[in-house]
């Protein structure tokens, strides 16, 4: 009897250990307007968590506070706590550069640096001068293969990255993020400026990559979330409406607002 009672409790403990990021009572203001309102949620390890919601709901602000790239936004103030691997990242003394090598980020618009394709992949790697030529080549190859770009660019690694198509540029941006070996990858609507075929390529890549990385994916495209998400977080007007496994939230959401959104993409909040 005692063993049976213990089992569910153990599984609860295991579950909390699997949560790589926990957000507690997060509130964000920009000047006088409140962008996020008491967000509490947790992100499981090695799964794809999609943050969905109408535009202007605070999805981007939420994901951008996880690697504190929001810090530079003028007039922003943050309350609450974000815990990554058991450590609070809101501590003033935290090494931001170190944090961002553990939590990588890919932005909405592909942004390659005016350098060669190879240099772009290696851009975030520290102490690049100490690495041998062969090693640099291997790093470039490994990460470009991971984003299925290797075949397309292997013969022209020294060409300017700007010569690639937008879809290829975005995959290069992901390769660049993978090269710094993060644990978590944040993607802020990474496919919204791409054509549907490039978008599908990136979706397939995410499903492949989740074995090694925890992926947090912001999208306003509900179909996309349905295709790739293990977990969904639904945000509307700065408030967390519901979070949970994607299968449950899509089939029988507990909240009527979630139901309206996942069926009609309509939200009244």
């Amino acid at each position: 009897m005692a063993e049976k009672a213990l089992k569910p409790m153990l599984s609860v403990v295991e579950k909390t250990q699997d949560k790589i990021i926990q957000i507690k009572d997060l509130q964000i203001w920009i000047n006088e307007s409140r962008i996020l309102n008491n967000i509490t949620l947790s992100i499981p390890k090695n799964e794809i968590t999609c943050i969905i919601g109408p535009s202007g709901s605070g999805k981007s602000t939420l994901i951008r506070s996880i690697n504190r790239i929001n810090d530079e936004v003028p007039g922003i103030s943050t309350q609450g706590e974000i815990i990554f691997n058991g450590l609070s990242i809101n501590n003033k003394n935290i090494d931001l550069a170190q944090l961002r090598t553990q939590i990588g980020m890919v932005f909405q618009k592909p942004c390659v640096f005016p350098k060669s394709i190879k240099e772009n992949v290696l851009f975030g790697i520290p102490h690049l001068k100490k690495i041998s030529k062969l090693e640099k080549f291997q790093i470039a190859e490994e990460n470009l293969k991971a984003v299925s770009l290797w075949k397309e660019v292997a013969h022209r690694l020294h060409d300017k990255a700007i010569s690639l198509s937008l879809g290829q540029q975005q995959r290069l941006c992901i390769a660049r993020t993978l090269a710094i070996k993060p644990e978590v990858i944040l993607l802020d609507e990474p496919t919204s400026s791409l054509d549907p075929i490039s978008a599908r390529a990136i979706e397939d890549m995410m499903v492949r990559l989740k074995k090694k990385y925890t992926i947090i994916f912001v999208t306003h495209n509900l179909q996309q979330a349905k295709r790739i998400a293990d977990n969904l977080v639904f945000i509307c007007d700065g408030k967390l409406i519901e979070q949970g496994p994607a299968s449950k939230m899509l089939s029988c959401p507990s909240n009527p607002e979630t139901k309206a959104y996942v069926t009609d993409e309509y939200c009244e909040c």
Partner: protein, 282 residues
């Protein structure tokens, strides 16, 4: 008058404005080339001047002018870069931004003769540096500082935020973002501003005439604290001897050389700007 007439009248008047504007420039160039070209010869460009500048060539004047602006550029560049980076990347306070802007524009508005007097009182007399070309370079660098600072600031500030965020998100510190991402992309602005600045500085007479130059008997300086001779001050000296036809012709020749130098700097600035525009558009 019906609308069609008004339309034509408007078109004619703006056409006239453009014509006047172009004609003035062409007229000026025409006169300088017409009068200056006969004076130009290899001897004129490679010999030193004699008879208090009335005879001989202008090689030391060309050298002096280029030396002054070269060091002015070298002194100005780091200060302008630093100010531009601070203003663009670190200064968040709106009020301080406005104060800094006002200061930069005021510095730009100060008449050049005031710089000359300041140089004379502060560097030549108070610091006892004497009449020396390095004082001239320092004063010219202060004069072009606003142009170079603003041009660099605009180039750095117009780089989209996503570049700053993408590089910070890869774990780069702020100074790494500035050195590795912003400066390489914004450096053309500094160079453009520098070329426009020195195109202006090389023709300045008032700020350097009593602090950095001597009108005759000057050769290559052997230290920082010696006077040089420059093109604009040479032209000034020759123009004062207008009764001597040889001196006058040399003045026209020196003017032509000065104008050519200014044009070279301005056109290089234009090319750098155009080249960068085509890069950022592609």
């Amino acid at each position: 008058m019906n609308r069609n007439m008004k339309n034509r009248l408007f078109y004619i008047s703006i056409g006239l404005a453009v014509t006047i504007c172009s004609l003035i420039l062409l007229f000026l160039f025409g006169i300088i080339i017409w009068n200056g070209l006969p004076a130009i010869s290899l001897d004129f460009l490679t010999n030193s001047s004699t008879n208090f500048g009335a005879d001989g060539g202008i090689v030391y004047q060309i050298f002096g002018s280029i030396l002054l602006i070269l060091f002015a550029a070298l002194i100005c560049l780091p200060i302008a870069l630093g100010t531009a980076i601070y203003k663009s990347e670190y200064l968040k306070n709106e009020i301080l931004h406005k104060i800094l802007n006002t200061l930069i524009y005021s510095l730009n508005g100060i008449p050049s003769i005031i710089f000359g007097i300041f140089g004379l009182i502060f560097f030549v007399n108070l610091l006892n540096m004497g009449i020396s070309w390095i004082v001239g370079s320092i004063i010219l660098s202060i004069m072009i500082l606003p142009t170079v600072t603003l041009s660099t600031y605009q180039a750095i500030n117009s780089i989209p935020t996503v570049y700053r965020e993408s590089s910070s998100a890869l774990g780069l510190n702020k100074w790494q973002v500035i050195v590795q991402v912003l400066l390489p992309q914004g450096f053309h602005g500094a160079v453009t501003g520098l070329l426009i600045g020195i195109a202006r500085a090389i023709g300045e007479t008032a700020p350097i005439m009593f602090i950095a130059t001597a009108f005759s008997g000057v050769e290559l300086p052997s230290s920082f604290l010696e006077p040089v001779s420059t093109l604009p001050t040479h032209i000034l000296a020759l123009a004062q001897q207008a009764t001597n036809p040889v001196a006058l012709q040399n003045a026209w020749g020196a003017s032509l050389v000065l104008v050519m130098l200014v044009i070279i700097f301005s056109i290089s600035a234009l090319f750098i700007r155009l080249r960068h525009q085509s890069i950022s558009k592609s």
